[in-house]
């Protein structure tokens, strides 16, 4: 039982990172109806910004409490992520707004490769250690159950960010414009919604969350490299599809579910008779099953076009 709870906690903390990235996929899909495959690389840039931000603060000799350092570093990497996301949209996707979606999709793959290989050029290919932003200690436990401070912080802060996102989407005027735009872009534009601003905002918001996800992921695994975004990016995409692409609560749910499932498979690999190396295959198996049996995802609604 304890072991199960342990795996569950591990899974939820990994899943909340997937959830943060998945939200960006689903939001962009909501307003532009395409999958931004460069999203996982914004996640990677987020982690690197945090690393550099951290070493800058340490070198500057400013004395700050650890929680403040962590907060500043997180904010910095979210801002970098938001700027990068809006920049990518402006330079790569906006000129293709009227083109077929496939064109934009292929461009997104191009942007993704660009970020990865430029990252390799600038940061080097070897993995680097990620500084511990949050002091890693065991918060004691119940019997053999171990709660690490990093995991708990990751889950709590991710939860906070999700609530913040919900508040922005449901309670602000920009959020209303986003919802209107995702339901009917033409009608929204003709009712006075400045679509370019809303689209930039959406990219910025989604990318900021991905960057935060990058910082958390790096905090959990303590190593980063320019290709670190590839697999989490893919899995977050699967999480978004699992929850129902375009549905915000779906992305959050899909992320957590996927994280938990993946961790459980690894944790119980001996019992299940699946080699733990198959952890990544689990996600793709889920994708295949979802596409076969419930393509709209868990919370998605069938989308009918009325003419």
């Amino acid at each position: 039982m304890n072991e199960f709870l342990q795996q569950l906690i591990n899974g939820i903390s990994l899943g909340s990172v997937y959830a943060l990235i998945a939200l960006g996929y689903t939001m962009v899909y909501g307003v532009l109806r395409f999958i931004n495959f460069a999203h996982g690389d914004v996640f990677m840039i987020g982690a690197f910004s945090a690393m550099f931000g951290h070493s800058l603060i340490k070198r500057s000799g400013l004395v700050m409490p650890d929680w403040l350092v962590a907060l500043v570093v997180l904010t910095l990497s979210m801002v970098v992520g938001a700027l990068l996301g809006t920049l990518i949209e402006k330079l790569a996707y906006k000129p293709l707004r009227e083109r077929p979606r496939l064109t934009v999709l292929i461009t997104a793959i191009g942007v993704s490769l660009l970020l990865e290989y430029v990252g390799q050029l600038v940061f080097g290919a070897a993995p680097r250690g990620f500084p511990s932003l949050i002091e890693s200690k065991s918060l004691g436990g119940f019997g053999s159950l171990q709660l690490s401070s990093v995991q708990i912080t990751v889950v709590l802060v991710s939860g906070g960010l999700l609530m913040g996102l919900r508040a922005i989407v449901m309670r602000t005027r920009m959020g209303l414009s986003m919802r209107a735009l995702s339901l009917n872009p033409t009608a929204a534009a003709l009712m006075g919604v400045n679509t370019n601003v809303v689209i930039s905002f959406t990219f910025g918001l989604g990318s900021a969350l991905a960057a935060a996800g990058g910082v958390f992921y790096a905090s959990l695994y303590q190593a980063i490299d320019p290709f670190m975004g590839v697999l989490p990016g893919m899995k977050a995409f699967i999480a978004a599809v699992l929850g129902g692409i375009g549905v915000l609560p779906g992305a959050a749910l899909g992320g957590v579910l996927l994280g938990v499932l993946e961790t459980l498979v690894v944790g119980y690999s001996k019992v299940l008779g699946i080699p733990s190396g198959f952890r990544d295959a689990v996600a793709f198996l889920i994708l295949i099953l979802i596409l076969l049996f419930k393509p709209t995802g868990l919370l998605g609604k069938a989308h009918r076009e009325k003419v």
Partner: protein, 264 residues
């Protein structure tokens, strides 16, 4: 009096090409303040394209569009909406899962001062503005008999009510000119009569000009003060309903050449 300067909307020699297809060619026409103008033509004549040109969805290839004395050709849709042109759609385009109130609120946002940070901070000026929006939106919905349903999702409304809600939403942008794209589509005779009253009422109540695209000749002939007829993207006639009904070119366009030959 100075007729040229009082026109609300004036299209001069407007042409739009999509690749090799000339959808609208050399179109010149205008709408005066307070006027109800009909735009008719056979299927595929380019009526909806004219709406798309006026609202900035498809910028014209050439020609000028002047609204309230300002050239709006090439402006973005939200900018043109802000200047006072609003429209409804042939196939209803409400924000289906949003509430009726939120549908109207989206259109109000255009004229509000508090932006994103205002709505995060939720200070005094934001709350006053929000209360004002709620009051105005409910007032508008009340006029059209929809206020009681304000918090329901709009797809729960009947077809006729959805059409009405589209008009309310369009009015929330505070237009001077309202474009109606086939508002009578899918309505029965009684509903059409009600619609005609509704259009005239809206026009008087809000001091609007209306440009109406419609297939139903009873509706068009019944309420329009002036009618422009287009065929294959060109204007073939313009005049009062009585003149249009007698126009040989219009009859030919609608009934085919042979029929008009047979008549003459």
């Amino acid at each position: 009096m100075e007729e040229a300067s009082v026109k609300l909307l004036e299209l001069t020699d407007v042409t739009i090409r999509f690749g090799g297809l000339v959808a609208v060619s050399g179109l010149t026409f205008h709408v005066n303040p307070g006027e109800l103008v009909g735009l008719i033509g056979p299927n595929g004549a380019g009526k909806t394209t004219v709406f798309n040109i006026i609202t900035g969805v498809c910028p014209p290839t050439s020609g000028s569009i002047v609204f309230s004395g300002v050239s709006v050709g090439g402006q973005r849709p939200y900018q043109i909406t802000a200047r006072g042109i609003s429209r409804t759609f042939q196939n209803i385009r409400l924000f289906s899962s949003l509430s009726i109130f939120d549908n109207v609120r989206t259109a109000f946002n255009l004229h509000l001062k508090n932006g994103f940070f205002g709505s995060v901070w939720r200070g005094g000026s934001f709350r006053t503005e929000e209360a004002e929006v709620r009051r105005e939106a409910l007032e508008l919905l009340e006029i059209f008999g929809l206020a009681a349903y304000a918090d329901l999702p709009c797809r729960s409304l009947s077809y006729g009510d959805q059409r009405r809600l589209e008009i309310v939403r369009a009015l929330a942008t505070r237009p001077k000119l309202l474009l109606l794209d086939e508002p009578a589509a899918g309505m029965n005779a009684t509903e059409k009569l009600e619609l005609m009253k509704l259009i005239q009422f809206t026009k008087e109540r809000f001091g609007l000009s209306v440009l109406l695209v419609e297939h139903d000749m009873k509706v068009v002939m019944g309420i329009c003060e002036r009618i422009a007829v287009i065929e294959y993207g060109r204007k073939i006639a313009e005049g009062t309903p009585a003149q249009i009904q007698k126009d040989a070119k219009v009859i030919a366009a609608y009934l085919g050449e042979e029929a008009s030959d047979a008549r003459s």
